[in-house]
């Protein structure tokens, strides 16, 4: 008989393949929220009095995180500010920005919309169109570097002590498998629920949804009737991450616990990886922008400089 394992309702919306647990809409929403709050406590992601900068794209992951973090804000545990980055992706980003504004307003959260244009004088579309460097990377690499730069800069502008992003279980297992397959052990030592830079110039980054499967995040926002932007970034399809994501999703069909076991196994081995392979970067400040950097120029300024020279 298909009925909710918690309340007995016959209207179940999920039968978890990994555990067999059946839940109705209300019990699913409550248990997911409880799980995220428990993960936050267990991993010590947030402390009372933190000012949390939430990266709010308007997509399902960040809006779900807004829904959950706003409960901590309403209980006076944290201060919350949402930041939306407009990368300049025509025909894609506009709707997300609009929904981010709407959601921040709905939850009564301070909100800033910032852009690549504002900080770097260009857009992601232009970067990709005009990039004639010999070694060209895919759009996600540039986008990631510039987004991280902006989040760190804005976190200091608003006095945030943590940067929270909506990375989910699928994202995290993709990162683990990608880094391993690329032999990027340095990257592996940095994957985790909370960044641990020795430099105080980097605001600590946290991933409260790291143990929630992407499909369950989709289910949460639909069950809760949250207004979110469902669309794929036009540049994402070309990435190695997308290829790995497709393989992992395929694997979960017959092996529903594969992402959990990948994450658990990695979390167990990570202390050893860190001990053996983590390098102590000497952090200076970037000569151009003043952001922390292990080299003379930070990655963002280094890209900008290369493009300046190509013109």
């Amino acid at each position: 008989m298909n009925e909710c394992d918690k309340c007995g309702s016959p209207d179940i919306i999920i039968k978890k393949k990994q555990s067999g647990q059946k839940l109705c809409s209300n019990c699913f929403i409550e248990s997911t929220k409880k799980k995220v709050l428990k993960d936050i406590r267990r991993q010590n992601l947030i402390e009372k009095g933190d000012k949390v900068l939430l990266g709010l794209s308007g997509g399902k992951d960040s809006v779900m995180l807004l829904d959950i973090l706003s409960t901590l804000k309403n209980r006076g545990i944290i201060d919350l500010v949402a930041v939306t980055i407009d990368e300049g992706i025509e025909g894609y980003r506009e709707e997300g920005v609009e929904l981010a504004i709407k959601n921040a307003e709905k939850y009564g959260v301070e909100h800033r919309v910032v852009s690549f244009k504002q900080y770097f004088g260009t857009t992601l579309d232009k970067i990709i169109q005009n990039n004639s460097l010999e070694v060209r990377r895919n759009a996600c690499t540039y986008c990631g570097v510039f987004r991280r730069w902006i989040f760190n800069r804005v976190s200091k502008e608003v006095g945030a002590t943590k940067i929270a992003t909506g990375h989910n279980l699928d994202d995290e297992t993709q990162s683990i498998v990608m880094s391993y397959l690329e032999g990027n052990i340095q990257n592996l030592t940095r994957i985790g629920p909370k960044s641990q830079s020795k430099s105080d110039k980097f605001t600590v980054k946290i991933k409260p949804l790291r143990e929630i499967p992407e499909k369950e995040i989709g289910l949460y926002v639909i069950a809760k009737e949250l207004d979110v932007h469902f669309a794929g970034c036009p540049y994402a399809g070309e990435s190695f991450r997308a290829e790995i994501g497709t393989i992992l999703k395929q694997l979960t069909v017959n092996h529903p616990t594969i992402m959990y076991s990948t994450l658990r196994g990695f979390d167990r081995i990570k202390p050893v990886l860190k001990k053996e392979f983590a390098t102590e970067s000497v952090f200076e400040v970037c000569e151009i922008c003043g952001e922390p950097s292990a080299a003379r120029l930070c990655k963002a300024c280094s890209f900008l400089k290369q493009w300046e020279n190509q013109d």
Binding site: I13, K215, I222, A223, F230, Y235, A236
Partner: protein, 66 residues
């Protein structure tokens, strides 16, 4: 039996025979079940939910590539 199926902005009526589930319907449409949430007559349902004549099915894609 006839079923109304909506995927994104596309709506269509499909005819199916025999006892079929949401999972069967998604497979016949070549939609990966792990990337969508399905509503039957406005309520979210699980993959093994049986289809009935006159049902209105909405397939919402929640996971996009990348």
């Amino acid at each position: 039996m006839k079923i109304n199926v909506k995927v994104g902005n596309n709506e269509d009526t499909v005819t199916i025979s025999g006892e079929k589930t949401i999972k069967d319907l998604l497979e016949s449409m070549e939609i990966a079940a792990e990337t969508v949430v399905v509503k039957k007559n406005d309520y979210i349902v699980i993959d093994e939910e049986l289809l009935e004549d006159g049902d209105s099915i909405e397939v919402i894609q929640v996971i996009y590539g990348g």
